[in-house]
Amino acid sequence: MSPPNNRYTSTAKTLHWLMAVLLLGTLAMGFYMTDLPFSPEKLQLYSWHKWAGITVFLLALIRLAWRLRYPPPPLPATTPRWQHWASHTAHWALYALMLAIPLSGWLMSSAKGVPTVWFGVIPIPDLLSRDLALGETLQTVHITLNWLLIALLIAHVGAALKHHWLDRDTVLLRMLPQFKHRQGELS
């Protein structure tokens, strides 16, 4: 059954917030771990970072599949056309990055000669053989894509807050877990 067309499914909300926590955690870990001196903690964080990255990739696939089956509610009718366009572009760019960033990290890891074993149990095949120069290039790609992700996340959060505080519509609220019950008083 599809929910009314002004609401997200609870699955979509769960995936959104799970992803939010995972993305921020993985990003922070990524920036923190690279500057650490060589140590067991560093190796541990690298492994965790890779495990989280693969999880992000899989969750992004699930999310996309879910989104195709249950399209998100439309933006308020009053939204200017350029904002429609910006919102669509930003969302699809975010999805693209949720796939491209783990992919670039995985390829970088392969090129640097370190295979990825998800949760230390499930080996992910190496698509590239060891090539340190290619590894450096992929590292630059990985970092650049992450800065792009940060920029888009700032825009995403900024737009959500603008909808809430300036436009005073339900665009932010409808992504919150309790929206179902407060809908009446807010609309």
């Binding site: 060589f38 140590s39 067991p40 190796l43 541990q44 492994s47 640097k112 000669g113 370190v114 295979p115 990825t116 074993v117 949760f119 230390g120 149990v121 340190l132």
Partner: protein, 186 residues
């Protein structure tokens, strides 16, 4: 006629190689010493690019067989570039004080025509352990090849002390694989 003579000459050469030749010149550039270890569930491969060896091996005179391999530890490739310098540090291999790892045989035993057990002493970072290494031998046109693998525990040689001593991150077992090529000489 030519081809018959050729076959006779070749057979003679093979017989000579198989039964009389003593292999005593290690060819490091045609040889390989590699290793693998596990880091948080991930199997990593590495190797050494510089080593030298002494050899005396005639399958007919095993009681005189002798092999010594000395590995320049600073030539290590751990599979992770950042780790290559880290493992030269005192907590790992301490290459400044112990620049080489050395294996020296004490006895060679034949299991069958191709397979041997080489017993000897392995010295790494000032610690010597008795080990026995399985090695298979094959020769062709005067070039002999010895290959095999054996396992050591890094903790037995204090490789990875202090914060690295726990096996959670880097496992204790290290498998060493070798392929040593040797030719005969006088």
């Amino acid at each position: 006629m030519k081809s018959i003579a050729g076959i006779i000459a070749l057979s003679a050469a093979l017989v000579t190689n198989a039964y009389a030749l003593e292999y005593n010149q290690v060819q490091p550039e045609a040889s390989e010493i590699r290793f693998s270890y596990t880091q948080m569930g991930v199997t990593m491969r590495g190797g050494f690019s510089r080593f030298t060896g002494e050899l005396r091996f005639n399958p007919e005179q095993l009681e005189q067989a002798y092999v010594m391999i000395e590995v320049d530890l600073a030539s290590i490739d751990t599979g992770i570039r950042e780790a290559d310098t880290e493992v030269t540090q005192p907590v790992w291999l301490h290459t400044e004080a112990f620049p080489t790892a050395r294996f020296e045989s004490s006895a060679v035993e034949a299991l069958d025509e191709q397979n041997y057990t080489v017993s000897g002493h392995l010295t790494i970072k000032g610690t010597t352990q008795d080990i026995s290494v399985p090695a298979s031998f094959a020769a062709e046109n005067g070039v002999g090849g010895f290959s095999g693998a054996f396992r050591i525990n890094r903790a037995d040689f204090a490789i990875g002390e202090g914060m690295w001593a726990s096996f959670d991150m880097v496992a204790n077992a290290v498998e060493v694989q070798f392929q040593i090529t040797a030719t005969g000489g006088d």
